[in-house]
Amino acid sequence: MPSILGTRVLRREDRGFLTSGAIYTADIEDSRLDGAVHATYVRSTMAHAGIEVDVSEAVTMPGVVAVFKASDLDGPKAIPGPVPVFPESMLNWPLLAGDRVRFVGEAVAVVLSEHPSQGEDAAEAVLVDYDPLPAVVDPEMALANEVLVHEDVGTNISVDFTDLGMATGYSDDDFFSDCEVVVSGRVAQPRTAAAPLEVRSAACAWEDGRVILWISNQAPHMTRGALTSLYGEQVAAGIRVLVGDVGGGFGAKIAPYPEEALLPWISSRLGRPVRWFESRTENMSAMGPGRGHIHRYTLGGTRDGDLTHYRLDVLVDGGAYARIGAFLPMFTLPMTVGVYDIPNVETTARSVVTNTAPLEAYRGAGRPEATLTIERAVDVFAAEIGIDPVEVRRRNYLPADVFPVTTSVGTEYDTGDYEASLDLALGAAGLDALRAEQRRRRDSGSPKQLGIGVATYVEMTAGPAPGGDEFGRVEITAEGKARVFSGSLSHGQSHRTTFSMIVADQLGISPDDVELIQGDTDLVEHGSGTMASKSTQLGGSAIHDAAGIVVSEARRLAADLLEAGVDDVVLDADTGRFHVVGSPAVDLSWADVAAAADEGALVAESKERRGCTYPFGTHLAVVEVDIETGQVRLDRLVSCDDAGVIINPMIVEGQRHGGIAQGVAQALFEEVSYDADGNPLTTNFADYGIVSMAELPSFELVPLETPTPCNPLGAKGIGESGAIGSTPAVQNAVADALSYMGVTHIDIPLTPQKVWAAIDSATS
């Protein structure tokens, strides 16, 4: 019987989701939450102001149990961002703003009420007296330091990556002097909302001196760590973080937020459990978006298309406090040159603070930003020398025979065959026919012009080097079934299915006999959570290795029972039974072996700390641009994505689909925006251009498997690839459609207004 690995096993999670709905944090029923008060946060309506908060009327409202403001807090006052390299006042996000607010949506008080609707009413009765201050919203203006977000720091620059040794800095003005052709440009990558369909939600109770926190979150152990250091002595008995079903995260639910971190204090102060969930409007203004980069690039090379010199300057709009988003150039800089062999590269990168919501990670987290700029730059360079961008790519790819390879920015890529992904994508798309149709429309002066855009990406999963780690444990129950504990956490990624396939394959049992335990920091001691597309390559590898150890131990026990040498005992991978080589008639089941085992004998742990991997691929987008209205329609999206060895192609395709849709949405529709005073303009799904199914085609996926030697499964990450390749493919396609007019670049999102303006200025 062939291995279950690589087959389309239907999801084991689906049934409950389809019949009664999953159990998200707001759905949890637990006796420890009986009688919980509901928390409603009062939020700043100004981007930058001194404040005074008056809760006297609110506390008298019906159903109100208490209203707290910053001066009431006698426990922790602020939660530090997860990367401690920033000046302290930028790093420490107040749990409730004290005398100063720094973005619209910042929490200034919290109402605790018996019912959520009472909290809403009372929140409106909290009076906030604002003493307005000038706001800085544009990150390029923040560099001028005319308005300071944190006066005590004296600058808005929160971190300079050259000072940290992560960017090279620039040498001298002669850097490009050997180049025959030099192009340069500015690539804006606006803020994009993660917009998980489930908003943030948490609940908290104390039990025997311990904090129990239920939370919609991607990384329960990281959250436990953050709260443990925040509460210190007060939680000496420990914190238990419980994560049930999570309605999407996409990077925005990694580190805990102030609204969540305050719940243990509230619960302790009131002696009652507390529940919190936000509205979508709150979510859109206070849960940080991602991206938020402005890049400037210069690309130099020869007239016949060799790329030789590249400079990248990264500016990150980190928002009011420095969260993970402000530090994501650590993922951008290692990927600066993408798939190309460009020998001479220089980089600079800085993050600034602005009076906007603190920046978080979002699907791809720093790598899509690097890809978008280099893939745009290559197209602009190709247009300048008049050579097909496909040919320029081909000419400059790192060739398949050089891997593993260390790039000119010092990143070690494991395996890759970029030209193969290009050829497969072009073949599936039928490039020649598309070009012919494009010519036909141009020649006939059609108002609907066709554009074809190609982007080849390489990305870094579980990175940057040396990569993350993940914990896994496998134990055999008395019934001969497997119980698997993973520090990784599915919030849509289908771990229950994928991980049970990995263990079932090792043990020769049915995936239905594998139970997965995740999202409970008491039952799973360690973990790093699900992010950076690392669940299979690290989490999957950890349980794979643990299962392997269990099998070895079981063979030893079976050898005793069968009175044979351990080397003569085999586990039949089809039946899951042990026997002596050549005598399959006498055999033992897992339950037989478990019955003979001492307690704890058939348990193994593994902590996977292997290198990051570098999945890659080529995306090709076909767009139709209405040159009379500027309207862009995506007709086709062909993607060839390599993810190393694939455990379950159905699930991998689902990850690709989701990523592609988000990447396309970033290119065409989605942008979190503010007015000049820092008022958010995209506070709900009616204002924000969140992509719907009417705006997308079905996607055309082409498989490619280039195994990695970095882990025992040969698997690379796939969760974010779709969002990395599709954005530049679509942006390149729109520029391509209008190239005959002389248009070379339009910033994303490619709204009809922007596209029409570019057409108008090119033709007038």
């Binding site: 019949t19 707001a26 409007t281 690709r656 849709a661 719907s692 009417a694």
Partner: protein
């Protein structure tokens, strides 16, 4: 005020504030949490249920407007242990990931096929435009609806 309706075949009555939304009545008074809330601008469709046989976004109406009517939620769709063909198609086509949009999406899709039994892909995409999913890129949802419609165009 007293509101009473039949949800999945059972009469549910409760004394609620007049401003109570149908979705809150379903989640709180009937304790059926399969129906989710994803927005506050009637945009996402996560709250879609059937009211008197038609799909409605249960966040857009008051509980009292459903007084005396029949409501079906995701919990009432399967026939005992047998999944409704739409649920089965979602499972077979991997049309759900985090699952948050799923109850509303399935209810909306069932209703779409009641109106347009053999839709084209474009008709599915237009018909379910008001139901957002952040995970699947919609590809497999569209495939599932086509498969359930028996138009034979479904693929996973």
């Amino acid at each position: 005020m007293q509101v009473s309706m039949t949800i999945n075949g059972e009469v549910v009555s409760d004394d609620v504030e007049p401003r109570t939304l149908l979705v809150h009545f379903i989640r709180e008074s009937a304790s059926l949490t399969g129906t989710n809330i994803g927005c506050d601008s009637s945009s996402c469709g996560a709250c879609t249920v059937h009211l008197a046989g038609e799909a409605v976004k249960s966040c857009t109406m008051l509980a009292v407007q459903a007084d005396g009517l029949e409501v079906t939620t995701i919990e009432g769709l399967a026939d005992g242990d047998v999944l409704h063909p739409m649920q089965q198609a979602f499972h077979e086509c991997h049309a759900l990931q985090c699952g948050y949009c799923t109850p509303g999406m399935v209810m909306a899709a069932v209703s779409l096929l009641d109106e347009v039994p053999n839709p084209t892909e474009a008709e599915v995409r237009e018909g379910l435009e008001g139901n957002l999913c952040r995970c699947t890129g919609y590809h497999n949802i569209v495939a599932a609806v086509l498969q359930a419609s028996g138009s034979g165009k479904g693929e996973s």
